[in-house]
Amino acid sequence: MTPIISARGLTKRYGRTIAVDHIDLEIPPGRIVGLIGPNGAGKTSALKAILGLCTFDGELSVLGKNPSRDRAALMEDVCFIADVAVLPRWIRVWQLIDVTEQIHKGFSRKTCMEYLAHTKITPDQKVKQLSKGMVAQLHLALVMAIEVRLLVLDEPTLGLDILYRKQFYTSLLNDYFDEDRTILITTHQVEEIEHILTDLIFIQDGKIVLESSMEEVERRYLELMVHPEFAEQARSLKPMYERELFGRHIFLYDSVDREQLAALGEIHTPSVADLFVATMKRGES
């Protein structure tokens, strides 16, 4: 199957700083990919290149199109929330829905109104009268009502309360996602999305440091919790990362035999957040 996004040597420079450094990337359809990295790692720059919002070096093809050259055509099949609070502040909710409906072929007013019905937003309100959380709700309602093949969400739930965040990710998974669609999400709240992700990409200093499916993550990485007396033994198996919690030592291993670890203590699959910390620490040393 042809990939949704395919990049080869993708590079983005701002003057002398390299924000994205020769990235190779292939994202097939029907995936929910988490793009995770610390601040300034190049996530937003990579997304901007993918969305045709900036020029770049290297090869990049999104749905078979060059995003920088064919942005308008690409946006027929791609939707994105670049950041919360980018909706024009002067516009009224009904005007926003109207203009989106006129310009976007795949927009369903009915679906949008259904999402808005769960909120306190009314059609006659101006965006500047809405709270930050409500603006995010409005933007999500718009985006979820558009039929596209690729949805890019950059910190989509910033400023939303826990109830709405849970509800959003549930409907994203249940109502929106299907095998033809691909969703690319960046967020700092990794715990919230890890159970819906199918793929994981870690980015650090403009480079991809981990690209793997969630199944592979489960196969490859193990977290071991041991009592202090076994710590030395566990350390000799070359963990990626070590931390202490309530007097117990926790080690994270990459591709170490499960049986061998099970003999030393409790094992389980690491959380994405812990794996992220471990990968970043390894990258720094």
């Binding site: 690409l74 980018v86 024009p88 976007h104």
Partner: protein, 315 residues
């Protein structure tokens, strides 16, 4: 086409104050002045004696003279609309490709499948067509309301407004002339519109400074170098822009002397064009060498604006 219309509607929504409220305020001022003068007249002269006398004297004048005065009055009343509209369009274009970069909503607009070319086209059409159109509608409404008030006054002085001033003028001719001059002005002003859009797409902040400083600095340098070389002062870029402005097809002056009214398009400084108001004179400058040069300059500016818009994001 559907998308273009949607984008133009968006421009109208965003700039309702400029395109709708502003002409309404001008119309309101005209009507308020008319009502104030009526109030003053009736207050000083409750029997309307002077007013009746004035109506009688006016009625004795030949139809043609009354017609000329009415016609010129209508054209003259458009001057305020023209001048204010120029300012409205100037500032509209200056912000057109700047405001959404400043408030970052460009990220939302660029998430819609509308090309940058279409976006710039919608802004240019808004300036060239929508602005004159809304001003025209409000001006026509103002004329009609003023004519109604005037008629009531004349009726209360026991005279017939139809024969006195309504039937002597063809309002459609006046409106057509004003409309022609405004739309011709839109084309004539293309180089400036292009420049403003370019600056709007480029300026990192305060687009007004970026729009006005470069020509000014350039003119000063030009004058200075020219003066050092020849010790005479010649036409610099400000002179060129001034000359262009004064050759505008917009009706900018109106004078009535003893019935021999004179309404001029621009302020004639050079003898390039005839400035008397006729349709031929309004349109002639659109088929001139100056216009051709202006179109070329406009194209360069617009291409630059498009190039910049293509690369523009929120920072």
């Amino acid at each position: 086409m559907k998308r273009l219309i949607a984008l133009i509607r968006r421009e109208y929504w965003e700039n309702k104050g400029a395109f709708r409220t502003t002409p309404l305020v001008i119309g309101g001022i005209y009507i308020a002045f008319l009502l104030m003068s009526i109030f003053t007249t009736t207050h000083i002269d409750s029997d309307l004696y002077t007013f009746r006398e004035a109506v009688r004297v006016m009625g004795e004048q030949p139809d043609a003279l009354r017609g000329t005065i009415m016609y010129q009055g209508m054209l003259g009343s458009s001057v305020l609309f023209t001048v204010v509209m120029s300012f409205v369009v100037f500032f509209y274009l200056l912000g057109a490709l700047y405001d959404d970069r400043k408030d970052r909503s460009i990220l939302f607009w660029k998430s819609l499948p509308a090309s940058d070319t279409l976006t710039i086209a919608s802004k240019l059409i808004t300036a060239m067509v929508l602005a004159p159109l809304t001003f025209l509608v409000v001006m026509i409404l103002t004329h009609i309301i003023m004519a109604l008030i005037g008629s009531l006054m004349v009726l209360s002085a026991d005279a017939n407004p139809w024969t006195l001033f309504l039937s002597v003028v063809n309002p459609f001719k006046a409106w057509a002339m004003i409309a022609a001059s405004w739309f011709a002005q839109s084309i004539w002003a293309l180089p400036v519109y292009g420049w403003l859009l370019l600056v709007s797409a480029f300026a990192p902040r305060v687009p007004l400074l970026f729009a006005t400083l470069p020509p000014l600095v350039f003119a000063i340098l030009q004058t200075w170098i020219e003066f050092l070389r020849t010790f005479t002062l010649k036409n610099n870029i400000v002179g060129v822009i001034g000359n262009w402005l004064f050759n505008s097809p917009a009706i900018l002056t109106a004078e009535v002397h003893d019935g021999h009214g004179e309404i001029a398009l621009g302020v004639p400084l050079t003898e390039n064009f005839d400035h008397t108001v006729t349709l031929a004179n309004i349109l002639d400058r659109l088929f001139s060498v100056q216009m051709l040069a202006g179109l070329v300059i406009a194209m360069v500016f617009l291409a630059g604006a498009l190039w910049l818009r293509h690369r523009a994001t929120d920072n």
